[in-house]
């Protein structure tokens, strides 16, 4: 057992990768689903074991193939990566039981096994990005997850899904290529690809005036921002979320952008460090401006959408703004808020998109007008939506409140009280777009679509209810997630001063 425990980091990548291969060979949708479900339930166990070990014994360094870093590829699990691993695997575990009926409903029989193959590859990529300590390895995993994501999106029923997948492919590839250019420049300067080694070789005094290092930071930040859909680079996201199959949307909304944010945190805090990113270059100012723009513009766009999936997609853009706001604040409470929101937003957005998936499963549409009266027909499904919506707004007692509280404290600490006011205002805009859907769903006479609908089967209902319950739980027991996030934030800011 202890022998196996040493190899936990690599299992996070190898298990889903091999399962993906098997899935492709199985060809039968239901068999592939069973395998994907088994893997999705094993992964969080491994991730939680890793988190436990990191909490007890500090950073885990795993030598791939026994080669010592910095020459070999090092898998490095610290508190931040363990936290993100748990987040990604838990979202995967919640979605898979839900997936069988939803996928069977939305995707043709002979393509279902491919769907699960792509899902497992995407999981491999996302977990690989999180677990590796090698800058070029991140690129490879980034492309594994991206390529499978394009396929997942293209499997949507509507022909516009193809268009959304194509647009995301172009933008995503530009983003990944920018990332490689950045890594290449860093390699030219430092001669290393190991993240810890690069950081050590970028001696602050020399690096602060080095133009290639600045260019590398710019390329890396822009590349990753394309992936995480930071405000002006977000165009691909609403279309991709709106037209992808429901299960894919729920999974991507909960994990893909979050892992991209993780890479941004790694770049800014672990590679370049506070001195270069915040003291020499105006990364903080740029991030704050773009985050506030995202919070406002995306939230306002969400108010005017009539497709509920698009409403939530725009809301995701706004919520990503809160997360990057926390990074831009660059102090412990602000960063804690950003990291907690990473976790909380994954929970609530996955629950929200799953409730939409359940509605699609029952009535086949998610146009706002067609949802009239659906609340009375599918009370539990819409209850999940309401809980998720309240958490988006940041109502006390939900997880969203905790993150916004920390962000506000972070802004106060900096003395930027107008920012606190802006956080409040954007929350009020969220009231409007969530309220619109809730009003239509609960207080109107049932539309012809909604009339005969009822709550979905338990296999779909239970995962949604579990996530909604978690959203409330982490809103009340604020120490559970925020305590880890604070330790992560302190580590990121303190470790590299």
């Amino acid at each position: 057992m202890s022998k196996l425990a040493e190899h936990l980091p690599i299992l996070q990548v190898v298990v889903p990768l091999l399962a993906a291969l098997l899935c492709a060979l199985l060809r039968r949708g239901s068999l592939a689903w069973a395998l994907a479900l088994a893997v999705s339930w094993i992964m969080p166990v491994i991730a939680i074991l890793l988190l436990q070990r990191v909490l007890d014994g500090g950073v885990i360094s795993y030598r791939l193939g026994g080669w010592a870093p910095p020459w070999g590829i090092e898998y490095r699990v610290d508190l931040l990566s363990a936290f993100v691993l748990v987040l990604v695997t838990v979202v995967g575990a919640a979605i898979m039981p839900f997936a069988r009926r939803s996928v069977a409903h939305e995707i043709e029989g002979d393509k279902q096994a491919w769907f699960y193959t792509m899902y497992l590859l995407c999981l491999t990529g996302l977990l690989g990005i999180t677990v590796t300590g090698d800058a070029f390895n991140i690129f490879v995993f980034l492309e594994i997850s991206s390529l499978s994501t394009y396929v997942l999106i293209a499997m949507g029923k509507d022909r516009r899904a193809l268009l959304a997948a194509y647009q995301y492919l172009i933008v995503g590839t530009i983003g990944a290529t920018f990332y490689v250019i950045g890594v290449g420049l860093l390699y030219l300067v430092t001669g290393s690809l190991n993240i810890v080694d690069i950081a050590a070789r970028l001696a602050p005094a020399a690096a602060e005036t080095s133009r290639p290092v600045f260019a590398a930071l710019a390329f890396l930040t822009v590349g990753v921002s394309l992936k995480l859909a930071l405000f002006p680079l977000h165009v691909w996201l609403p279309g991709a979320y709106a037209h992808a199959p429901s299960v894919a949307t729920a999974f991507l909304a909960g994990t893909a952008t979050k892992v991209a944010v993780y890479v941004l945190l790694r770049l800014i805090f672990s590679i370049f460090g506070v001195a270069i990113a915040f003291d020499t270059l105006p990364v903080s100012e740029v991030l704050l401006t773009l985050s506030v723009a995202a919070m406002f513009i995306a939230s306002i766009l969400a108010v005017f959408e009539t497709d509920v999936k698009r409403v939530l997609a725009y809301s995701s853009l706004g919520q990503i703004g809160y997360i990057t706001l926390g990074i831009g604040l660059a102090n412990v409470p602000g960063l804690t808020g950003g990291i907690v929101h990473l976790f909380n937003h994954a929970l609530m957005k996955t629950a929200l998109f799953m409730s939409l998936g359940a509605i699609v499963y029952r009535i086949g549409t998610i146009k706002l007008a067609d949802l009239a009266g659906i609340g009375r027909q599918m009370p539990l499904t819409m209850a999940v939506f309401v809980v998720g919506g309240l958490a988006l707004v940041g109502v006390p007692g939900t997880a969203g409140f905790v993150s916004k509280w920390y962000l506000a404290v972070g802004a106060f600490d900096r003395g930027w009280w107008p920012l606190v006011f802006l956080i409040l205002v954007t929350s009020l805009i969220a009231v409007v777009y969530v309220g619109r859907v809730v009003e239509v769903a609960w207080f109107r006479e049932p539309s012809s679509f909604a009339a005969g609908a009822k709550d979905p089967p338990l296999s779909m209902l239970l995962p949604m209810l579990a996530l909604a319950a978690a959203t409330i739980y982490f809103g009340i027991d604020t120490e559970a997630s925020a305590a880890i996030a604070r330790r992560v934030a302190e580590g990121l800011i303190g470790g590299l001063k």
Binding site: F136, F139, V140, E143, L147, Y150, V151, A154, R159, R160, L162, L163, A164, A165, Y166, L169, I170, T173, I174, A176, T177, V180, I181, G184, Y187, L188, L193, G239
Partner: protein, 121 residues
């Protein structure tokens, strides 16, 4: 004379940057989906050059432990780019496959014509 010298010394980087910008320009400026993918490929290829150029030493051999050879090229960037080439090929193949499907669904691969038909996509 100084500028000529500078140019000659950085000639390889100038080619790389030119390819990079040209590729990116094609992706942005063209509406034809195949041409966009060609631009994307040129853009990606320029990055291969960015990695390979500094790694190659004139007269250098592969790093073989033999007293006969003293000057080596750095093998690591070559290996990295081998990986990047595979990624690039996979991306291009998937992109082309999507274009085929788009052509079947819409009957055109011109972006503006498709947007005209969809309105909101």
């Amino acid at each position: 004379m100084r500028y000529v010298n500078e140019f000659a010394q950085h000639y390889n980087y100038i080619v790389t940057i030119f390819l990079m910008v040209a590729g990116l320009y094609v992706v942005i400026a063209r509406g034809n989906m195949i041409k966009k993918l060609i631009g994307l490929s040129i853009f990606q290829t320029s990055v291969y050059l960015l990695y390979i150029e500094p790694a190659k030493i004139l007269g250098g051999t592969a790093p073989i432990l033999d007293p006969a050879y003293k000057v080596y090229s750095n093998p690591l960037p070559h290996v990295l780019i081998l990986t990047a080439i595979v990624v690039g090929v996979a991306t291009l193949a998937l992109g082309l496959a999507l274009v085929v499907r788009i052509d079947e669904a819409y009957g055109t691969i011109e972006e503006d014509e498709i947007f005209e038909r969809e309105g909101d996509a």
